[in-house]
Amino acid sequence: MNMILKNTFLGTAILLLFLLTFPQVVMAEEAVPLLPMTVKGVALINGAPAPNGTVIAAYLNGQPVEKFLVDTSSGDYCFWISGTAEDEEKPVTFTVDGKNTGNSIAWEAGKQVLSLELSVGTEVDPGNPIKDLTSKINSKSLTEIGKPEAFGKNSGTTVIESSVPEPDLKALKNMNANSGNKETAESPEGSSKLKSAPGFLIIYAFAGIVLLAFGFNLKREPRRKP
């Protein structure tokens, strides 16, 4: 009878532990979306701006991730390429009208690659003085200029390497729990449970399980020894 009771307690405690930890498991599984990498520039076909209707596609590590339909006569395009922490440093490549441009950029959250020329065909673009001027003005206060050779054919490409670190939710939660929670006093709805209480509840639940599972045995063990 005692065994049945004990098992019931144990089962209840395990269920309680699961329910208390579940939200944190969900949190851990779904990371905060990282900033996308921005890639902007002009697409050229045989040296001329890609015409309206041209499809430019971006691939992350060989997988298609974004498409852009050119809708101006200047061949301008822009991508916001999303990725995860696992995608950092993986190559981003492009096609114009289905043909590989030969450009390759390492994906990085928050990175901005501007004035990237995506060219397919044979002729060389003589250059666009207005775009060059725009590029220079835009890049005058940039934090870091990337190396041109990192982008294949391009030499006028500007790269802004300014990312935002991925938030460490566990560390933030611990820090927040340690610093106290003013909102408890200010908010009429008492919203502090998510931030601090679950930690203590889990400790209590775990302690309860240990006591229920081993409490009796721990007391009995010395008696068994001769």
């Binding site: 949190m27 905060v32 900033l35 916001w80 928050g110 003005i137 300014s162 990312s163 938030p167 933030l172």
Partner: protein, 389 residues
């Protein structure tokens, strides 16, 4: 047997006492059912406002009817909520009044009169009549001929009249009650990039009061991530919701106190990526919303705006020089897509294809240099802007 007899006797005594109390109540109501002018009905049954009583205000036995209907029950006065769509929120100062219907048989054809006052009234004469109605609910949008004011105290009373004009002096009154500008915040399951367009009422500005008890809210302050304690305008937030969530939030009225006037919200932004919010309850072009971040005449202090939604992923705009924006419109990527007219929420498409920032949405902005992001109401007389067609 003896116990049954005692019980029976007690029941009889209780019944007698209840009957006596009921008789007293009727007598009291009769004495209190007086009209508000001088507390009496004139003999010819004329009402104080000049109206006449039907049948001369007499009962079938020829006596004067002075028994008033009971005061209305369950009078409830609440802030009338505005209408929120994914791309805009419309709200006007208003109070929603409701009550239970009276059941007296001699009620007037239009029995209820609703009154409102901007100060605590001592009698019904101190209040302004809003409307006579046979319904049991209505909206109040004016007091003293002027629109209600957000954050101001109001008192609302409802009386029920019978055919002879009698009403209970102990009328139902509710107050003080306030109306606030409000909008609905919607969260998808998972991570959302959100903001509030105006200062939230201090009593409900806590993160979980705004985004729900199960939410996790993160803010990038330009240097590190933090769990904010309160939600503020101008800022953008990552909000995690374990389930789809909707909440109505009320905004703090702008103080009209000349001694301590409220200043529009603003936010200092350092170079690099920053989280911001849209500062209006109406959609507005990014060049209008971010006008405070213009650099000289032809350039902006930022070079990239991106936003995220669970269904659309990432998207944004890269403004060119301000001069080019003036020539080419709002500087957004042109497209035939009419996102603002789509029923489903698409804040990313609205920014990317129409150049519009929408209320409640958060944004990442890349600052080329430091600047102060001021709310749209400090840059424009926003009442004049009616939003997109």
């Amino acid at each position: 047997m003896k116990q049954k007899l005692i019980l029976f006797g007690a029941l009889i005594i209780i019944s007698l006492l209840a009957g006596a109390a009921s008789a007293n109540e009727v007598a009291n109501n009769t004495s209190e059912s007086l009209l508000p002018d001088n507390g009496t009905l004139s003999n010819n049954g004329t009402l104080p406002d000049g109206g006449t009583l039907p049948d001369g205000g007499t009962l079938s036995d020829g006596s004067l009817d002075t028994v008033a209907p009971a005061s209305v029950a369950d009078l409830n006065v609440v802030d009338a909520l505005g209408e929120t769509k994914w791309s805009y929120a419309n709200d006007y100062p208003g109070l929603y009044v409701s009550w239970d219907a009276n059941t007296e048989e001699d009620l007037a054809p239009v029995p209820y009169e609703v009154f409102v006052s901007g100060s605590n009234p001592s009698a019904i004469e101190d209040m302004e009549k809003v409307k006579s109605t046979s319904d049991t609910s209505l909206y109040i949008e004016e007091c003293g001929g002027k629109p209600l004011v957000y954050g101001k105290d109001y008192w609302v009373a409802v009386i029920a009249r019978d055919n002879t004009g009698n009403y209970d002096d102990c009328f139902a009154i509710c107050g003080p009650v306030r109306t606030y500008e409000d909008m609905d915040i919607k969260l998808d399951e998972g991570w959302n990039l959100k903001s509030v367009p105006k200062r939230v009422l201090a009593s409900s500005a806590g993160t979980q009061s705004v985004f729900g008890r199960g939410s996790i809210v993160l803010y990038w302050n330009g240097d590190c991530w933090e769990f904010p304690e309160t939600i503020e305008p101008c800022k953008g937030y990552w909000v995690y919701s374990p389930v789809p969530f909707e909440n109505n939030i009320k905004f703090k009225p702008m103080s009209s106190d000349s001694a301590a006037p409220d200043v529009p919200a603003s936010l200092d932004l350092a170079p690099g990526w920053q989280m911001i919010g849209h500062t209006s309850t109406q959609p507005a072009s990014w060049s209008m919303t971010l006008a405070s971040l213009k650099d000289l005449l032809i350039d902006y202090k930022f070079s990239n705006i991106a936003t995220y939604s669970h269904h659309e992923g990432w998207g944004g705009i890269i403004p060119e020089l301000g001069l080019i924006d003036m020539i080419a419109g709002d500087g957004s990527v042109p497209s035939g897509a009419d996102f603002i007219n789509i029923t489903g929420p698409c804040p990313v498409g609205a920014l990317q294809y129409q150049g519009l920032m929408v209320p409640g949405q958060g944004y990442w902005i890349f600052m080329k240099k430091e600047g102060t992001y001021a709310s749209i109401e400090s840059m424009y007389n926003y009442q004049d802007y009616s939003g997109p067609e």
